[in-house]
């Protein structure tokens, strides 16, 4: 068998193809695969959607991409054909995000799309939801968001230092795809909160600016951990306006701690939203006073809540990762999550 492989595969040809794709400016800096009519057809065969159906559009640039264009990007990104319906559902979800429609791909924030997959398709495609969920090593998690990035680059024509103007950008900008660890969660999954029937595979997405760890593994009570989340969420560095939509990738151990204390996901959300905030004086001290906004000027002790309200769209909570150490992540949303989850079809 190995002899056969040695004969069938020519590494020089592979290198030549990779160099050709780099040279044409079609890749994100990593090697990409060539899309051919044959490979694109294999991807198109996994969906009922017509190849010329519009999969995503960009109002400001007056550009759109078709299902076929997205298939080309998915091939180049290294997806397996069976990932393609998830890539299309991710575009459905991103197309509901005001930030993605409104110039988010060109933003100085340089946000990355966080793609969250629920339902049985996680197992069918081996989408990681457990240990190392944000890390490397899992083909579906790595290539599905890369397909989105290559569509933005090649389909919309938004490239760094041209129409894209990220000041620093986001670590792993086109690598943020996770499964929710529904099996380890004491609560209903994100998709069900968004109105999708239980057991239906679905995708949600939003644009995120950064992640910050909440390492709290020696807790003795739910309140300690909740307070730690509040401390991170209200951190002034992420604040740029009146409110700062935020999400939590919640470690299963933290989720179970809250559930054991009798709290629902909404109870957790309300606890945090009621407490996360800064006074006008605190914000002014770091050059971020909000007195120029309507309703201002504000008294020094006026309290500005970090989050506008306690809705799933304002503070999405997703259970992910393993329980081997109780570390969660706070992520900063650019714009606002639509609160919607889109069935894989």
């Amino acid at each position: 068998m190995s002899e056969h492989v040695a004969v069938a595969l020519d590494p020089d040809v592979a290198t030549g193809v990779a160099e050709e794709l780099y040279g044409r400016g079609w890749t994100d800096g990593l090697p990409a695969l060539p899309a051919t009519e044959e490979s694109v057809q294999r991807f198109l065969a996994t969906t009922q959607r017509a190849e010329d159906e519009v999969a995503a559009h960009h109002p400001q640039l007056e550009r759109h991409v078709t299902v076929r264009d997205v298939a080309v990007s998915a091939v180049m990104a290294g997806c397996l054909p069976e990932y393609f319906p998830v890539v299309l559902a991710a575009w459905d979800a991103l197309s509901a995000e005001r930030a993605a429609l409104g110039g988010g791909w060109q933003s100085t924030s340089g946000p990355g799309p966080l793609i969250v997959v629920n339902g049985p398709i996680r197992h069918q495609l081996a989408i990681n939801s457990e240990s190392g969920v944000l890390g490397p090593g899992f083909r579906a998690n790595a290539t599905i968001p890369r397909a989105i990035g290559l569509t933005v680059r090649n389909g919309f024509g938004i490239r760094p230092r041209e129409l894209e103007q990220a000041t620093i950008g986001t670590v792993g900008r086109w690598q943020l795809c996770i499964g929710e660890n529904e099996e380890a969660s004491p609560w209903e999954p994100l998709s069900e909160e968004a109105g999708v029937e239980p057991g239906v595979s679905a995708v949600a997405a939003t644009l995120v600016r950064t992640f910050e760890v909440v390492d709290n593994r020696s807790f003795t009570s739910a309140q300690e951990v909740l307070g730690d989340f509040v401390d991170t969420i209200q951190r002034s560095g992420a604040l740029i306006g009146r409110h700062s939509p935020t999400g939590i990738l919640l470690n299963p151990a933290h989720a179970q701690l809250f559930a054991d204390a009798g709290m629902s996901k909404q109870d957790v959300r309300e606890w945090i939203v009621a407490r996360a905030g800064r006074t006008e004086a605190e914000l002014q001290a770091v050059g971020k006073g909000l007195s120029h906004l309507p309703g201002g000027p504000f008294a020094a002790d006026h309290r500005h809540p970090t989050l506008a309200d306690a809705k799933p769209a304002t503070l999405p909570i997703i259970v992910a990762g393993s329980s081997n150490a109780a570390m969660s992540m706070v992520f900063r949303v650019l714009g606002l999550w639509s609160g919607r989850s889109f069935p894989v079809r």
Partner: protein, 185 residues
Amino acid sequence: MTAEIIDPTQHFHASTAVTPTDAARPETLAGLRIGLLGNTKRNADSILDAIGARLADRHAQIALIPRTKTQFAMPLPVELVEELIRDCDVVVIGVGDCGSCSASAVADAIALESVGIPTAVICTDAFVQPSSAMAGLKGAPDFPYLLTAHPIANLTADGVEERGEQLAAQVEARLIGSTRTVAAA
């Protein structure tokens, strides 16, 4: 065996933009209604107000018409375009000081020119690339936009006045078409 590699960029290369036209210019700003189209970015309205005040100092019977584009990275809504056509003779647009809003401001200016409204659009000099890229995308690669130093968000009130004074003459020149202040490299 060989197979043709698909060009993933063919879709946008193939799009054919119609070459836009500049609106006819007035000889003077005196007596005109000048729209000040802010985009909600910090200090944008203040700079536009300062420019408007300078223009009003120099010309008789100018009417200043402040308007706001609430979604700075989106195309101008149709209702707002109709309102500008109805209420304004010329429009000053600004300030493009971010990756998406600078490109969007240039697109808005080109769109308003094509419906007959002379515009002066202001971007900051950190965003020449997206501004020019958008101009090219809209079929007007040499479209003249005005540049001001970046950043503007943290200017003091005095700084805003100073900036308005610097920009007023360029805005006027652009609106009456006496010079072509081509900023694009």
